[in-house]
């Protein structure tokens, strides 16, 4: 038990084309780290044989749903889990096709790392660029580029370097800070879990070593205190007659007992009287902990409000610029249309004031003429909400900088929005 007590949780997304071997890579990670169980292995073996494959197809491990297994491709975000003694991993496995951009955006929203797969024979292709752009827009803190199928290019150092250069020159235009490159063969296992003997020129880590050691502790914002009130705890019992607790998950900053705070939207100030967490009272709380706060003064505060520090307020506004990814297949985004918007624990209605441009997801070109925004499109828009939201730019805080847009007729989530 003790060896797991300091183990962190890391979420990473995988995206790659059907032929890139992404599913094989995941199967390899699970298999070599011994996270695939025997009966799962047997089942894949049986299915592989039934489908007429000669080698066991590890890709079948991640293809869950009936129709996918028949077609041999993945069509949704699938979550896979494995762990090593150092960390627990959650893989958000998403398809590579452009028509599933929305799924990649979904899987990427909480990821610490984006794993981008490149076929060594093809180099940087449209898909590679697209995935890197999405990772950049979604502000995934770390990128690891796996140059796969090295066995098919004779483990050539030259081929690897060429691809690395190509990617780096493209990525220079993006907002990506931390990029690593690894030459691998998912099929044969080279540099995935075990070090390859075929790449003596490569001095970097294996993929698993990278995943186990990449520094993710700073991925949260520990500077700006943001506490969206999620739920008000009122026992109404004899023992806790006057108790009123404000429950929620710390979205940013470090909150300490005794801290002077300000409540939004009222602007009233008070101090934190007590912080209670999962193991009882705590002196301080930080993201992503879920806690219940008690305040010194009896003030008006409810779900949707926010607790912050006086000298460090979020933007309080009804007007905002958003970078959105449109999800709906039936509906298109329309100027003047009204939607429901959700932000942290708040809800408001909004109107689309203008569509500024559609972003070409392959070239990064901003097309101001093309304002027809349909499924999988990325665009910059302006909205006005019916009441002020307490926001930060998305690059500062992914929780207070994001919204989802809901269509009132169908109740579907039609877009994800990132505040600029």
């Amino acid at each position: 038990m003790s060896e797991y007590s300091s183990s962190e949780l890391l979420r990473f997304t995988t995206a790659g084309s059907v032929d890139d071997g992404k599913s094989t890579l995941i199967g390899r990670l699970l298999y070599d780290s011994k996270s695939i169980h025997q009966d799962q292995y047997e089942q894949i073996k049986k299915t592989s044989e039934r489908m007429g494959e000669s080698e066991i197809n590890l890709a079948l491990l991640t293809d869950g749903l009936k129709s996918e297994r028949e077609q041999g491709i993945t069509i949704d975000v699938a979550y896979r889990y494995f762990s090593t003694p150092k960390r627990k991993f959650i893989i958000a496995d998403t398809p590579g096709h452009i028509q599933y951009t929305r799924n990649m955006v979904t899987g990427a929203s909480t990821a610490n790392v984006a794993l981008i797969l490149i076929d060594a024979r093809q180099g940087v292709v449209e898909q590679t660029r697209r995935h890197a752009i999405i990772a950049s827009i979604l502000q995934i803190p770390h990128l690891v580029v796996c140059i796969n199928k090295m066995d098919l290019v004779d483990f050539s150092e030259e081929a690897y370097n060429k691809i690395q250069e190509e990617f780096e020159s493209f990525a220079a235009k993006l907002d990506v800070k931390d990029v690593h490159f690894i030459p691998i063969s998912a099929l044969l296992g080279d540099n995935v879990v075990n070090r390859s003997k075929q790449t003596p020129w490569y001095e970097g880590p294996t993929l698993i070593y990278y995943l186990e050691n990449v520094h993710i502790a700073s991925d949260h914002n520990f500077i700006d205190v943001r506490f969206p009130v999620q739920y008000v705890v009122r026992p109404y019992s004899d023992e806790f007659h006057d108790y009123r607790g404000y429950a929620g998950r710390i979205a940013g900053g470090v909150m300490k007992k005794g801290d002077k705070v300000m409540l939004l939207p009222t602007g009233f100030t008070t101090t934190i009287a007590k912080i209670e967490g999962a193991t009882g009272e705590q002196q301080e709380a930080f993201p992503p902990q879920s806690v219940t706060l008690q305040l010194t003064d009896d003030l008006d505060l409810s779900r949707g409000d926010m607790i912050v520090r006086e000298n460090n307020k979020p933007d309080v506004s009804q007007d905002m610029d958003l970078m959105i990814c449109w999800f709906s297949s039936d509906l298109k985004l329309k100027e003047g249309a009204k939607y429901t918007v959700m932000h942290t624990s708040q809800e408001a209605r909004c109107v689309i004031k203008s569509i500024r441009y559609k972003l070409d997801i392959n070239s990064l070109h901003r097309n101001e003429e093309d304002t027809e925004i349909g499924m999988n499109d990325i665009a910059r828009i302006q909205v006005r909400t019916t009441k002020p939201l307490f926001t930060d730019p998305y690059r500062t805080n992914r929780i207070t900088g994001s919204v989802i847009i809901i269509d009132e007729g169908t109740n579907n989530t039609v877009a994800a929005g990132m505040i600029i």
Binding site: S6, S83, Y231, G248, R249, R398
Partner: protein, 300 residues
Amino acid sequence: MNYHINHLRELESESIFVMREVAAQFENPVLMFSGGKDSILMVHLAYKAFYPARIPFTLLHIDTGHNFDETIRYRDALVAKTGCKLVVGSVQEAIDAGEITEEKGVNASRNGLQTHVLLASLEKGKYDAALGGARRDEEKARAKERFFSHRDEFGQWDPKNQRPELWNMFNSKKQMGEHFRVFPISNWTELDVWQYLAMEEVELPSLYYAHKRKVIERDGVLLADSEFIPKRPDEVVFEEMVRCRTIGDVTCTGVWRSEATDIDAIIEEVATTRMTERGGRTDDKRSETSMEDRKKKGYF
């Protein structure tokens, strides 16, 4: 200062967050309780999420009538301790009322019948959200499940129609008659559950620990010998040291050879085992897409 949080505490925080969202966004939520370790974990987390107030969920148990006695005793004790309201949906009553028909044959199970009773109970109680202890690592068809899973007015799940879940926001908007199934422990693995229960020193039914039991072997799986399981002529009863990894009812829970009599031994076994948790669930083995087909019909 070290702002480090370990994976169990992070998972715990996420689950508590989801439960509070349910309490905030729904009018009449219910927690589906089976007496298994995942639902025991759920109640433990719910207790923390709302402390010092009472858990704002009714507990719903779909009783096939084929339970291990101990499961029922444990359930009743937990209800007494938490002060939750318990509603029991009875498969036996539904059979008696002619709503559903009992399966026949050696592999008869009431597992599939639970769906009907579950949907009927949800409708009767007018619950707009049902919390369950399902995890995404359990089975192929659950790998794509959301935290908040929309079910239509027939209780059906359409994999092509689930809402994207981004950041911490859950869209629970629905039409009349629709409801949501919510899975707060979606990201927990079997090992996480055991490690957490050990860390928190949660008391569990003794079925989970190794004990001597009369069993039969069928299709490579050991089943507890019980009056509810008709035996084939060639199946002999023998005694084995076993424990349950997952608890369905008697007819569909495979027991597992084990010497693990305490939680640390269980953790060690789970961490090194070659067989998945549900590998012993005969209900999953009926076809390759068993779970997916059942979910489409409205199963949990």
